[in-house]
């Protein structure tokens, strides 16, 4: 597929244009906020059926665990929307008439638009397992899913979570926080195998077991059994083992939530097809966030990007394009991401694949306690850094953003690694050990670049 040719002006630019955004997730909201900054006249309406206000989807687990209430997860106070004249419509869109430029809503009057932004998000994958519709079996994506999980686990004695990815591990942690024992089924040989190299994956798995997770590798789900009353009573694995349980969390990935626009004029594949400025095939209709699929992917990136940060950057970029005469192509900087596995934080900068081939090579260091690790992947010949993973420690985004943009070598990075440290004060520091390990493994003799500056008494605080 090629990028559609640019047709005429990018979008309607009349004063007081009606911009309607479907979806109040991070991408839709970011876009709305940035449009408002640049276009004080536009009528901006945000429609969403899930919740009236924007909340942080990434924080769903903390509501279940009792760290926060739903109210805590709202990034803006409720007065924010009216003050910025962002009209909120709490309803489901049932269909879109692209000709009439009109949305049908489930409860309320139809809505007219000049510009339509689709920020529909994702929904959990389901693989047609027998019994997946039983009560007590569910995915986790929406706020309603969370409420359901709350009800479904009220009297649960044993739970099973299927799927070795981030949402799976979050569900396991959620259940354990309520003292519900969990069996965690992972189809692959290692946890999060297609993303994490073996050592990192093993480190994480050790930690899961330390938290008494019953982790079953190379175990696929075959079917779910009925207790006779429409509730789940057990799962059966591919090898035929039956694991009794009262709750099953299905976390085997997400897919774009595009039922609304399937079989319309809008061109879709897995997601809504967009060019690099987020325009769809229909003029004045755009798509961003989890539901968008690039016709031509950005180099080194997936066609569909389903993370918080990309959703935000899509929103920023589209808002720019809608409010500036010269639209720009989406150009994300070096990749970054982060997650947390129980108590172990994970950050990554640049590209660290789970496996690599010559001339790409890697350097790995792990702390003696087995809970802190650092990996750099680089070109073995030129030493140019491709990316880093770190577990159990924090690194500075800006440092690696610069290093990757300016194509530093791994050695340039390692001799300055103390500058990248983002751990809290008084934490044990690892840059010397890491440099030593590198010297040992690669037979080099690198020295740390000049010591960090010492202000008055600052040695007390660093």
């Amino acid at each position: 597929m090629r990028d559609a040719a640019q047709t005429g002006d990018f979008c309607i630019r009349t004063k007081g244009r009606r911009i309607v955004i479907i979806g109040n997730g991070i991408s839709g909201i970011t876009c709305a906020r940035h449009i408002r900054k640049r276009d004080p006249e536009a009528h901006i309406t945000i429609v969403s059926g899930e919740t009236e206000h924007f909340f942080s989807r990434t924080a769903l687990m903390y509501i279940y665990m009792g760290h926060m209430t739903y109210a805590h997860t709202k990034p803006y106070e409720d007065w924010f929307w009216e003050k910025n004249r962002l009209e909120l419509v709490h309803d489901w869109v049932t269909s879109i008439n692209f000709e009439q430029k009109e949305l049908q809503l489930q409860q309320q009057e139809p809505l007219k638009y000049d510009i339509l932004i689709l920020a529909l998000g994702s929904k959990p994958n389901m693989f047609n397992w027998p019994g997946q519709e039983l009560e007590g079996v569910q995915g986790l994506y929406t706020y309603q899913d969370l409420q359901k999980m709350n009800d479904n686990t009220a009297n649960c004695r044993h739970a099973v979570v299927v799927g070795g990815g981030l949402i799976g591990v979050e569900m396991v942690e959620m259940l354990l926080s309520r003292n519900i024992p969990v069996t965690f089924l992972v189809r692959e040989k290692h946890f999060w195998e297609h993303i994490l190299p073996k050592e990192e994956s093993e480190l994480v798995m050790r930690h899961l077991r330390e938290h008494h997770v019953d982790l079953r590798l190379q175990t696929a789900l075959k079917e779910l059994l009925d207790d006779g009353a429409g509730k789940v009573s057990a799962v059966v694995t591919a090898s035929g083992e039956e694991i009794p349980c009262q709750f099953v969390g299905l976390a085997v990935g997400v897919k774009p939530n595009i039922e609304l626009v399937r079989n319309t004029q809008l061109e879709v594949n897995k997601g809504i097809l967009v060019d690099q400025r987020f325009a769809t095939n229909i003029p004045n209709v755009f798509a961003i966030g989890d539901c968008a699929e690039y016709r031509v992917p950005v180099p080194q990136r997936q066609r569909i990007e389903q993370v918080w940060y990309t959703g935000r950057m899509h929103g920023e970029t589209l808002a720019h394009n809608l409010t500036h005469p010269e639209p720009v192509a989406y150009t994300p900087g070096p990749w970054f991401n982060s997650a947390k596995f129980f108590d172990i934080e994970y950050q990554t900068y640049g590209m660290v694949p789970s496996r690599w081939e010559e001339p790409v090579t890697s350097f790995y260091w792990e702390h003696a306690d087995g809970k802190i690790a650092f990996r750099a992947v680089f070109n073995g010949e030129t030493k140019k850094l491709h990316g880093v993973n770190c577990l159990g420690m924090r690194l500075r985004h800006d440092f690696f953003d610069q290093a990757l943009r300016e194509s530093w070598t791994v050695e340039q990075v390692l001799v300055k690694l103390h500058e990248a440290n983002f751990d809290p004060e008084f934490y044990e520091r690892h840059h010397r050990d890491i440099l030593q390990a590198y010297n040992r493994q690669l037979g080099t003799d690198l020295q740390q670049e000049k010591k960090e500056k010492k202000g008055l008494l600052s040695y007390l605080w660093r």
């Binding site: 009792g66 918080w308 994300p332 970054f336 924090r394 600052s458």
Partner: protein, 514 residues
Amino acid sequence: MNAIQKLGLGVFLLALLLFNALLFMGRFELTVQELEQSVKQEHVEVLRQELQPMLGKTYTSSFGFATDFNRYLDNYNEEQQRSQQWDRVIWDDYAFALARVASQGFVENNKLLLLFLTVILGAAGALVNILPKYRGEPAGIKNNGIMFSSNKARGVVGITIGVYLTAIYVLLYWYPEYLVNWALLVDPLSYALSGGPASQWFLYGTIYTLAILVMGVRMFRKYKGNNYQLLRTASVMFFQLSFAFLIPEVLVLLNLPWYDLKNIWPLDYDFFFEYSVASMLGSGSIGLFLFIWGILLIILAVPLFTYFYGKRWYCSWVCGCGGLAETAGDPYRHLSDKSLKAWKVERWMVHGILVIITVITLLTIANFFTEFALLKQSTDMLHQWYGFLIGSAFAGVIGVGFYPLMGNRVWCRFGCPLAAYLGLVQRFKSRFRITTNGGQCISCGNCSTYCEMGIDVRWYAQRGQNIVRSSCVGCGICASVCPRGVLKLENGTEQGRITDIPFLTGNESINVLN
């Protein structure tokens, strides 16, 4: 909770029950001799007459005794006021002192035993409950279930504790005669330290210190593996035990004025009032040293340390109010109001109080140097009102009593004039800031939720802006609970500290202007 922990909690609750029951125990009988020894010479005659019905009478609790005493004294005073005999009105507060000497019987005779059964056993029970916490679990902060907890989420338990604490503070500040039995308990300790009997303030200091120590141990458990939290907690425990509790008593033992060496004006609001200056300057070279030390803290230590480290060097490492908030108050930290409105109220209130105490202090000093020609004795009235409203009602009753209702830093945030002064330095001339880590924030809200000062940390973090706020006490909890490693407390160069129009790292398409 395992069986041992439950046992600990049970012991603690029983000890607490007995402790409270003590207030209703004992016998109180005032003799003429005791009366004569406890009041000023000029009042002996009057009181002997007025209290005639009480003398030799046996009361079965301090409540009956104190109520009668207050009634007789009020009757007498009202009479004098009606007949305009102002000089005959008795302003001195004898209720606590008389209840002390009148006390007999069970509590008076079993001080050590009861001290053991209540305070010591209670603390031990609490420790037995706390020490096994998180044992065998990997290090990492677990805030599981906090929002479902009746105690921590303003449920029945939380409200009950709030009402109880508030009531205790009201008694302590204004009706200490009802707490006389508690003071008796710590008599042995007081004699050992300063050679004198325990006042209600010694009692308060003992419980306060114990609360910081025991709940400090809880901090060690809860935040294990987090060196910043561990050191900070150890620091407040140390400063409370030594500077606030032991050293002042030793000073008293040496016949010097009671003085907490880390208490700084304007938190220590009466530092410049005539009576404290007179007491310091009247105590020889050590008194003079204390006076100069106090002034150096105000004009040197505050700006200098705050420039280098932010106000945290005091508020969450040294201060006694902060010490209690950071230990006993930690379970309630998320109850602070994060709204923009609360921030507006905060700024007016806390700076308003700083202005008021500064004006009062300047008037007092001016009055002193003009040999009271300026305002005569009317500064006394200002002192009393400030002491009543701010020193007692706000800092004490609301400051601590409202922990389970409004969070653990209500006083520090809305009331403390020293925090306001430190905050001004921190905001405008300091190297301290909370750095945000590029574009890594996922807006989850843990940081804002657990900010005890009600700072909406997320608001800054999600737009990539450093957090430079006058109220930040640098407790570091936001950085500890952030699941994505976004926040770091740092002392760095002043340049680049305040980023007014930040842009988030990661998107090269545009430089996003927020």
